[in-house]
Symmetry: D2
Subunit: 278 residues, 4 copies
């Protein structure tokens, strides 16, 4: 099923020789190039009206991609788990009205085909970072893959997971830091921004930061978005909802339109200060 070669661990995703920097293109958007890329949208796609409205607001504020969950992992089995393919169709409609490419999660090998029909970027969620069958399945598609860091993952475990995707033939991989477990209790997870310079040394893959999950606290998102940019990240993923406190999930870590606008305005000078375009 897989070839056996005990001598290399993650050679394909390592920087080496000519391979210094992977730039991923999705429509008109580049990730890992000179620009800085913002992905925004709700945790869960709730309705067509909702996702279209958010897409328009996100675009107006300056976002480059639309995120939104159609297949949702939930810690407990009795929660809303997304609209499935219907949710993907809503995302596609939002894309057609705004031009924003779509990033959305895929949870299972057997769902890869249907998600590929609609998505521009396949997201592998934190819980599935070491679901190797799923990594293998997305490696056989031609879609870029956004690979979230497991909340327990050391860098070599994360890069090992990325290597599965590369080893299957797909090197269009975006790494996403979203917080780790620690003893801290002022945030839900501890956003570890030092992975940004560390990964820049090791790998040619782009790296983005998710301060929404990475803190789990709405009030800290703008500060940590700017910190992520200053640390050298290639982009951000931000949860946005028209009425955060009424969102189906992740309310505590979701910003409204006004905060998202402020985030984009405060972010721009920081991005420029580290020599990138936005």
């Amino acid at each position: 099923m897989y070839e056996i070669d005990v001598n290399k661990n993650y050679d394909l995703v390592k920087k080496s020789g000519a391979k210094q920097k992977t730039v991923i293109r999705v429509g008109n958007v580049e990730i890992g190039g000179d620009g800085f890329t913002v992905m925004a949208g709700p945790c869960t796609v709730e309705s067509l009206e909702q996702i279209v409205e958010i897409a328009k607001e996100a675009k107006k504020a300056g976002a480059h991609l639309l995120r939104g969950g159609a297949f949702k992992p939930c810690t407990f089995p009795y929660r809303f788990m997304g609209h499935g393919e219907d949710g993907l169709k809503m995302l596609a409609e939002a894309r057609s009205q705004t031009g924003l490419p779509i990033v959305t999660e895929v949870m299972e090998p057997s769902d890869v085909d249907v998600v590929c029909k609609y998505a521009d970027i396949l997201q592998i969620g934190m819980r599935n970072m070491q679901n190797y069958r799923l990594l293998h399945a997305v490696s056989k598609t031609d879609k870029p893959v956004l690979l979230k860091r497991g909340s327990w993952a050391k860098l070599d475990e994360w890069l090992g997971a990325a290597e599965y995707i590369a080893a299957g033939g797909n090197e269009k991989i975006i790494l996403c830091e979203r917080g780790i477990v620690s003893f801290e209790d002022h945030t839900r997870w501890t956003l570890s921004l030092s992975v940004v310079p560390a990964l820049k040394e090791i790998t040619h893959l782009p790296i983005i930061v998710d301060p929404s999950h990475g803190t789990g606290r709405r009030n800290f998102i703008i500060a940590m978005a700017k910190a992520g940019a200053a640390a050298g990240a290639d982009g951000l993923m931000i949860e946005v909802h028209p009425v955060p406190d009424k969102s189906f999930s992740d309310a505590v870590q979701t910003v409204g339109y006004e905060d998202f606008n402020r985030l984009m305005q405060e972010l721009a000078p920081v991005v420029k200060a580290v020599g990138r375009n936005i």
Copy 2:
């Protein structure tokens, strides 16, 4: 796909009223009853001769079940990932020669059927603790499920994962502590034995301890096996290999026959000291 009920989180796996204790029976073996149950075997099934020999030695030493991986998750993609169905057949042959029931890992919903053909207990590995599709798939079988704790999982996340299996109709769940991430560096993971009394308060499910993964250090396994028993666990899972340093995987945390014998001999009085049979 799943029903929606935001009012309960893990009601099925909680202790309540008549449901104080679940005893799981596999062949002549009980897990969660008055006895103490030891599962032993190699990380990976390497060959028919190997697994049959280990099964015989494990049985002689007093083990009650045989563990062994046919489908193996590996941190890097270039390692040996198990013999697949051939490995399952080797396990079945070892069972037929020794009478020891088999516990083995299943990694993917599409493998559940083939693993069920051979296994007595389905193991969900640490990396898949929140692979909800896989949890749902095993919930639809009639096999007991051994659910390893994610190295990042708080108790409610772990019980939430167990609830997925119960919610699908299968309450034959065995919880297995196998170590968590922490800052410690004298072990690979930190074996957190306080989950044993904590889970005994909350859930009716049996709980076993894996000191092999839980420490990642061969020399500490016997001490932590006894500690797990003294803490009140219902059993242990131990990695055993004829020549640990030559095992395909997990060499550093695998004991040989002699150490396993010593473990079983030193374990017995501790098990009896806490009022259980072995």
Copy 3:
């Protein structure tokens, strides 16, 4: 002030040649020998009547030493910080009525003299594990020192702290595991029992376990006391109070007389099962 020798880190506390095991004697009590030693008492000495009563009850239940705080570190500055020397006098009176030697905390070099006047064993609390001036000060006394592990300390940091005491001339050191910081939330700290076999390999010093602080949860103390003994510890430190919910501090992790009696009764067979006397 200290000599400089960059070539050794903690040579004095390491096992080597003839130095395989340090046995510490206090009155009739041995720590680190064939027996198993239980230190019990309140977090804080509250009154003479209280400490005498607890000492008598602890002795009756089988405890070997009396613990109790006269100088108390508190996370916030507005709490009761102990009776100071008056508290030491109460401890001494309890000793004279029961014969139990006293272990009590010293927080500052300038307090070492007064604490030495009354105490049999000087305790260095978790917060002061790397208070090197204090370590140096206690190294110049002839009293045994109980050195609690910092909740953040790797083994080499802990042994480095012990080495300060040994380097100053005092090798009568008892190490005490009392839990580390981690992401877990079912306990206040994570009691890491694998340090017991790990330390037994490295150092000749005795090691005891404090399941009261190590869990911060009254209901888990008996189970973890037994687990600590089974892991090979040389003793335990247990918080006992006549009415735990009314104790000045640490109520959530303190057991009453009845529970302490049960602990001692359930502990005895486990201690014997691992080949020690109690």
Copy 4:
């Protein structure tokens, strides 16, 4: 010794009413005002020539204060522990030649007087964050206190320590994030920048970031310095040495003059991008 008031935990350091922001002045330097403050210098003061040279280079590059250790805590007892008062005199000479105020560590109550003779700011090191006697001693001086976060400390434990200083009468406190323990191994500690916006909500005290200790990796310091500024910190503490690999301590996390210059140049636009002066 201390008053007892169980009803307040850290009221003095909390934001409230008129107390929104504490600005600390040392010579011509402000900490916590509109400007951004950089403290730079070696881990340990090694010689008069060295500290004077570093002070001049640091000043030229734009630093505002000089840091340097005269009393050094070391994990193992056989290392160089600083020149003591001689080191303080060297710092004072460097100050007189450059005008840079001095921040230096005090380890023990009995050293407070001598350190106060020379220092402009008293530093409480990580290991002493909960050395309450030391906190009390510095609370009785009129010097600003830089209180490093313990690598294990939750925010309330850190603010509780600050409250000790405030309760003793000294509210000139600067909080300094310097990394926490976690499972990560690409850095020595995990620099947790989300404490910056979190503390800005809770306390009126200024907060600075130490990316040198916070990462323990020279290559990541510039990126994390910028990230700290973008997160909203009031300043930085940076370890600088003429030949980092030859420094007496902390070589792996110390930058040379060239890197420090680059740090200051790259930092300036980020500081301005978040609306502050430098």
